[in-house]
């Protein structure tokens, strides 16, 4: 029955945990509305035939509605409409509330592409890899105009706004590929602003994520369906450098190893830092991100806790870009045979 109605109404596959429930309400509303409309329509048609004009001098009685008719005319639709509202609003609250154990992915929309950033992990363009059977929460913002993240198979849609985060969530029930469409008109190439959710088996996803973290797969997944050529790593570094200037990071953090208000960024990545509380920490993406968002959590020994939080000021992709920039700041001293080619030389000169 579900399958029959779904096909009759041309609904896409039900690929998320919420889709079947939404479709069932859809069937209920459509069937009741069509039945009610049909009753009204057939009644009217019956009247057309039964009360057609038979002679030109026919007269008609004056009929006024009684209170019973009026109550029925108001009450019946009101009861139905309120029932649909109640059911729909319940489901809407569920759609608007990500489960607490959701995996988080940052989404940045721009004309005309989707960019996904896994906190402390890789970035991807156009293709969102997620584990199936696990709720995924998307934290979304836009770099330019309003976009809208729409996955028909998941029955979710959420506008993506500049200067503000919106969120949505989904749980893919089966591994598979599901199309992402932009649903808010965003300019000339609006209709080509598409992407894909690739739901993987959870164990495959873990493998994929680890590979991405190590940078081993060289982001093949992006190349597969990206609308634009995959930006090389140095472009992210460049973006991070600009952000570091724009957000005034470099007013306190030097990039040439000289001491200043904050720890220098040169060779920061993978450094073992001693903290004010005596612990040591290895500087990785997670620590750098945490220090941007909650700077007083792990203050390096010898420095004053004066750094402001960038929570809410830097989004996922920007954070990742700054992390990439910090990672790129290497000196010969530690890394005498750099694998990254001459990229680090110009960086020091900048």
């Amino acid at each position: 029955m579900n399958e029959f109605l779904r096909r009759l109404l041309f609904l896409p596959e039900q690929a998320s945990s919420v889709a079947p429930g939404i479709d069932h309400l859809h069937y209920f509303v459509i069937i009741t509305t069509m039945l009610m409309s049909a009753v009204v329509g057939w009644t009217a048609l019956g009247f057309f035939i039964r009360f057609r004009r038979r002679s030109e001098i026919e007269t008609t009685p004056r009929i006024e509605p009684g209170w019973k008719f009026e109550t029925l005319a108001v009450g019946l639709p009101l009861i139905f409409f309120l029932a649909w509202f109640w059911m729909g609003f319940h489901a809407y609250i569920r759609l608007a509330t990500p489960p607490p154990n959701s995996m988080e992915v940052y989404v940045m929309a721009k004309q005309w592409m989707w960019k996904f950033s896994y906190p402390g992990g890789p970035n991807a363009i156009s293709t969102l890899h997620v584990p199936a059977r696990r709720p995924v929460k998307l934290l979304m913002t836009s770099r330019d105009v309003i976009h809208s993240f729409f996955v028909p198979s998941f029955r979710i849609k959420q506008d993506v706004l500049p200067g503000r985060y919106t969120q949505t969530w989904f749980e893919a029930v089966e591994p598979g590929r599901y199309q992402i469409l932009c649903a808010e008109f965003c300019g000339t190439d609006h209709s080509n602003m598409r992407g894909e959710v690739v739901a993987m088996r959870p164990e495959d996803f873990d493998t994929w994520l680890n590979e991405q973290r190590r940078g081993l797969t060289n982001r093949q997944d992006m190349a597969a369906s990206a609308q634009e050529p995959v930006p090389p790593l140095t472009d992210m570094v460049e973006q991070g450098r600009r952000l570091a200037v724009a957000f005034a990071c470099v007013k306190c953090h030097t990039i040439d190893g000289s001491p200043h208000i904050g720890p220098t960024w040169l060779d920061l990545y993978h450094r073992q830092e001693r903290l004010a509380n005596g612990d040591t920490v290895e500087v990785d993406e997670g620590y750098i991100t945490e220090s941007m968002m909650d700077p007083r959590a792990k203050v390096v020994a010898g420095f004053n806790p004066v750094m402001p939080t960038f929570q809410g000021r830097l989004d996922g992709p920007d954070t990742a870009a700054i992390v990439e920039y910090i990672k790129s700041l290497r000196s010969e001293r530690i890394n005498p045979t750099p694998s990254g080619g001459p990229a680090y030389e110009p960086i020091r000169g900048r």
Partner: protein
């Protein structure tokens, strides 16, 4: 009866042939001539908007480029929306038929402010010319909704179109004020509020919305014009502005605007259905008050355009439940119209064929409206073709049906000529079928996940687009037939009788076509409209 005494049935000088110079038309203060000018202008706008629509449909015959490039497509759907909404749908019934009929129906010589009325024509023409100029010099590509921040960043020229619509807005406001004052002050002796024809009630409700909502549109259009040209920043997040604020302001006008379009249509239906069923409207008070109810509640439902925009969950719920109330008011009207037919004496003529179409579109379109107001379902439907099909059914379908019903019903009154009934029915059938064939595939497309405003679309949607395009050509042929036989009727049509439909509507009490000052002597009303159970006094006279 006293009314019959004022009727001059002799074919003497009427408002059309009393003066025929171009100057006499351009400087007229006669509400009937002004209504007629609006009718011609509106039909012209309908034609332009319709050609845009047809081109858009042809573009969708295949994914990717078919007959135009992406930017042309984006401009064209914007212009289709702007022309159809502001140049046709909003003024269509109030400015054309409202102007012509309201004074006749309330027994007045003219509207309260005839000069202001003439000014509203010129405002409309000025706004339309500026908007048209903008369309041919850069043409906006923002959609008729002008959402920021895209509208403040677009490389196309939005400002002339914004200014054009801003000026047309004043035409709407002026018309609204005129009707409110006219209805309050110029009703003839004996015409109490509860004796007013239902069309006048509907125009009254519409005018209130026009006067209250249109200034907000003016404000928001000016703000985007400033944002686009001077970089004002009110809607720019980077400077502390809020792009969603724009949507609130825009829909605060544009949702009530839907009722500016559909309330007069409901008024037309109440008139025409009573005439062709030869029966009093069942539940006169219910129909009259539900017009005011829609006008009131319509102001508090704008947020249902924004269920996925990032407004709070609570807001979404509040707007959803209020939207359901509009459905209840509409249902009351529908039940009353259908009940009017009960024990009537139904004559199936062209205007009545359009009334059948209207009932069909308002019922099915209205029901899909209640469905999209169901919040969780709207998340999937929002900004897809389902919504496009929904509003074309309820807003365009219903209004267009009523417009055509009004055109055919009052054509003899306006021009004193009769059109060919057979062709009338043929084109009515073509238009109703064509409308369904165009938009039913679009409901399916929306379910399927096809977003609106898509130049290029995934291939799985193609066959439904082709079906929709086929339907739109049918629709186009239907309109062409109407245009042809109405022109023939104007030139060669047989002279209309004084009251060809046997209507008891107050507008038929004067001569057909009416004289310049409507009545030879001031009419006095002794009972309500549409009292078909009594013998027709005028016939007895």
């Amino acid at each position: 009866m006293s009314q019959s005494a004022v009727v001059s049935r002799r074919a003497g000088k009427n408002y059309l042939n009393v003066e025929t110079s171009v100057k006499s038309w351009l400087l007229t203060r006669d509400h009937k001539r002004i209504g007629l000018m609006f009718l011609v202008l509106n039909v012209g706008a309908l034609f332009v908007g319709g050609v845009f629509a047809l081109l858009l449909r042809f573009e969708h015959l295949s994914p990717g480029p078919t007959i135009m490039d992406a930017i042309t497509y984006n401009r064209m759907f914007t212009l289709h929306g702007v022309v159809m909404v502001w140049l046709f749908m909003i003024p269509a019934i109030p400015s054309a038929f409202g102007n012509f009929l309201v004074p006749l129906m309330i027994g007045a010589e003219d509207v309260a402010f005839p000069r202001l009325n003439l000014a509203s024509v010129y405002l409309y023409v000025a706004g339309a010319l500026i908007a048209l100029w903008g369309m041919f010099h850069g043409g906006a590509d923002t959609g008729w909704t002008f959402y920021t921040p895209y509208s403040s960043m677009t490389p196309t020229k939005v400002v002339p179109i914004l200014i054009g619509v801003f000026i047309i807005g004043f035409s709407t406001i002026v018309t609204g004020i005129n009707f409110i004052v006219t209805i309050h002050t110029l009703r003839a002796k004996g015409l109490t509020w509860m004796r007013m024809p239902l069309f006048v009630w509907a125009i009254y409700g519409t005018s209130i919305i026009q006067v209250l909502a249109t200034p907000v549109l003016g404000l928001v259009l000016l703000l985007i014009a400033l944002e686009h040209s001077l970089g004002l920043g009110i809607f720019d997040a980077a400077r502390g502005g809020d792009p969603v604020l724009f949507q609130h302001l825009f829909w605060f006008y544009s949702h009530p605007a839907v009722y500016i379009m559909v309330l007069p249509a409901m008024g037309v239906v109440s008139e025409v259905i009573a005439c062709f069923a030869r029966k009093n409207p069942f539940g006169y008070k219910a129909i009259a008050y539900s017009s005011l109810g829609i006008a009131f509640v319509g102001f508090f439902t704008w947020g249902h355009h924004m269920f996925v925009s990032g407004q709070s969950t609570f807001d979404a719920g509040a707007f959803a439940v209020l939207s359901m109330l509009v459905g209840v008011f509409t249902a009351i009207k529908v039940f009353n119209w259908v009940a009017t037919l009960y024990k009537g004496s139904i004559q199936f003529r062209t205007p009545f064929a359009y009334i059948c179409g209207f009932l069909y579109f308002i019922v099915f379109g209205g029901m899909t409206g209640v469905a999209v107001a169901t919040v969780s379902l709207d998340v999937h439907w929002h900004d897809t073709y389902f919504v496009v099909a929904h509003f074309h059914f309820i807003m365009v379908g219903a209004t267009l049906m009523a417009f055509l019903a009004a055109l055919h019903y009052w054509f003899p009154k306006m021009f004193g000529k009769m059109y060919n009934e057979g062709w009338g029915l043929v084109s009515a059938v073509l238009i109703i079928l064509g409308f369904n064939a165009t938009f039913i595939p679009q409901f399916w497309l929306g379910n399927f996940g096809m977003p609106r405003r898509y130049y290029n679309y995934p291939e799985r949607f193609q066959w439904l687009h082709v079906a929709s395009t086929a339907g739109s050509t049918l629709l186009f042929f239907g309109f062409m037939i109407i245009l042809i036989y109405l022109f023939i009727a104007l030139r060669f049509g047989r002279r209309a009788e004084w009251n060809p439909w046997g209507s008891r509507g107050f507008e038929w009490r004067t001569a057909t076509p009416p004289p310049t000052h409507n009545f030879d002597q001031a009419p006095v009303f002794t009972h309500g409209p549409h009292e078909y159970h009594e013998p027709h006094e005028v016939d007895l006279a």
